[in-house]
């Protein structure tokens, strides 16, 4: 029994070690001045300094890529959350073939690989003669994010007692009030996890952005890194930037999870 446990722990930690090696690698080499990864020229915080003071080559490129990434993710996931929640309420009240059709259509963007979503939307924008840029990228991100919002909100609708909403109406609430005070609070957990999922998928997206950003020079972090790596020299300040992003995500995730496990102690 005990050897089993030791084996299990060892396996997990070995995997984690391998999984985190590249990330640790980035973090470690963010503290040296060398241009290329893997080249240690002594401890230095110069790259962090450059990042924050903006004194690096092509600083505007990297900073605007970060700004674009965040802005696109925020706008796309807010719209996806609203669209997806409204859609989920609709789908929940549909029956039979109509419901099946909606569920089927909703599944397509999730099954489609990024590159197909990207290429097909690219062809759509070419076909419709829409010039590509921010708007097309945001539309594309909404397309692959919304299904996940729908999938996260639907179970909450199933769990909800439909009579509560009717009761609110009977007690004199207007439909708008009933929506705001009964429906939205019941759906909120699903909406939040849908939003977070959308936001992170949008942040991480490369292929879809790559095909729908057009030729106006719009870069997100992913497309910036791709172009940078293809040119040969990665902007050294990407290392501290990635380390900071990693730290933020680590803290946020740990806080969320610790709070969750405190709220529902030993569900098992």
């Amino acid at each position: 029994m005990n050897t089993r446990k030791i084996f299990a722990k060892a396996y997990l930690w070995l995997l984690l070690l391998v999984l985190y090696a590249p990330i640790a690698f980035i973090v470690i080499f963010s503290f040296t001045e060398a241009k290329s990864l893997g080249n240690w020229t002594g401890f230095s915080t110069a790259l962090y300094h450059n990042l924050f003071s903006g004194s690096m080559q092509n600083s505007s490129g990297l900073l605007s890529a970060v700004k674009n990434t965040l802005l696109i993710a925020l706008v796309a996931s807010i719209i996806a959350t609203i669209l997806g929640t409204v859609a989920a309420i609709g789908i929940h009240h549909l029956h039979g073939r109509k419901k099946q059709t909606m569920n089927f259509l909703n599944n397509i963007p999730m099954i489609n690989p990024d590159i197909i979503t990207g290429v097909s939307l690219f062809l759509l924008f070419v076909f419709l003669g829409i010039s590509q840029g921010y708007v097309t990228v945001v539309l594309a991100h909404i397309t692959f994010c919304t299904p996940y919002v729908v999938l996260n909100v639907l179970p909450k609708l199933k769990q909800m007692n439909p009579n509560i909403y009717e009761a609110a109406l009977d007690l004199g609430a207007t439909p708008a009030q009933a929506l705001r005070k009964v429906l939205v609070p019941a759906l909120r957990p699903g909406m939040i996890s849908g939003f977070i999922l959308s936001f992170t998928m949008s942040l991480d997206d490369f292929a879809v952005t790559f095909f729908t950003r057009g030729t106006i020079g719009l870069d997100t972090l992913s497309t910036y890194i791709y172009a940078d790596a293809r040119k040969g020299g990665l902007t050294p300040e990407l290392k501290p930037l990635m380390s900071i992003i990693f730290l933020i995500i680590l803290i946020v995730l740990l806080v969320i999870n610790i709070r969750q496990s405190k709220q529902q102690p030993d569900k098992q």
Partner: protein
């Protein structure tokens, strides 16, 4: 009640416009030549192009190998994570899904750089390792979820009825966890078969995968051939989805955190 169902309408229109129509356009473009006349030449071009065919075969091969590798490594990890006796901490679970949230390109670049530093030449081996590294969390998470929500009394019942631990696993736990394995397979196979940037980084452009050819054609304004290649990939995905059936449904239900 009926009025509520109309709330699905805006999303329906959105889906038709941004999902159905684009996919139809892939079909339309792949059946046209440059000047918009109907032709099958894009499709036949693929089936007579040795390079494209071998790239295609290699992509499928790499995707299958990577998926198998992820199952073999990921299943035990998910099993240990989901077992109360072996792992009590929720933090370990978070640590496993955390890499998913780091920019995939950056992680891949760092992996490639690690190989360079260790003096390992970039090629198929590094490609497989790097891809497995990139997609492993996507395999572990759905399996873990499935194991977690499984009713433990089935296993206890099997034990009480005299099954050995190995039998409990092969006859109860494993079959019941298959939906999780299938959604993990989908979440790993689909992206690997279509990846382009990751394979370029991990092999220093030595090995081309199918996604790279699609991207090159689209970017060089060979839309029709690019669309035809996309169509072929769509067919592969359609087949995989049909084979998999409904068993992977509900993968996103709990959300990812």
């Amino acid at each position: 009640m009926n009025k509520r169902s109309s709330w699905a309408l805006p999303y329906f229109i959105f889906l038709v416009l941004f999902v159905v129509l684009p996919l139809l356009l892939v079909l339309v473009y792949s059946l046209q030549d440059n000047s918009g006349n109907f032709t099958l030449s894009n499709i036949t071009k693929f089936f007579t192009d040795k390079d494209a065919l071998s790239t295609f075969a290699l992509s499928i091969e790499v995707a299958i190998e990577n998926t198998l590798l992820c199952v073999l490594i990921g299943y035990p990890a998910a099993y240990i994570l989901a077992d109360n006796k072996l792992n009590r901490s929720a933090v370990t679970v978070v640590l496993f899904i955390l890499p998913m949230w780091i920019n995939a390109l950056m992680r891949t670049l760092a992996t490639a750089e690690l190989f360079n530093m260790a003096g390992i030449p970039l090629g198929k081996g590094t490609l497989l390792f790097g891809m497995c590294y990139d997609y492993l969390p996507f395999m572990i998470y759905p399996i873990y979820n499935q194991l977690k929500k499984m009713d433990k009394s089935y296993m206890e019942a099997a034990q009480d009825l005299g099954a050995t631990p190995r039998e409990v696993f092969t006859k109860v736990t494993l079959p019941l966890s298959m939906p999780g394995v299938w959604s993990g397979v989908m979440m790993v196979f689909m992206p690997t078969v279509s990846t382009f940037a990751i394979s370029e980084f991990l092999t220093n452009n030595k090995i081309k995968l199918f996604g790279t050819i699609i991207q090159e054609n689209i970017n060089n304004s060979m839309w029709n051939y690019g669309a035809a290649l996309s169509l072929i990939m769509l067919v592969i995905i359609g087949i995989t989805t049909l084979l998999q059936g409904d068993s992977g449904q509900g993968e996103a239900e709990g959300g990812l955190i």
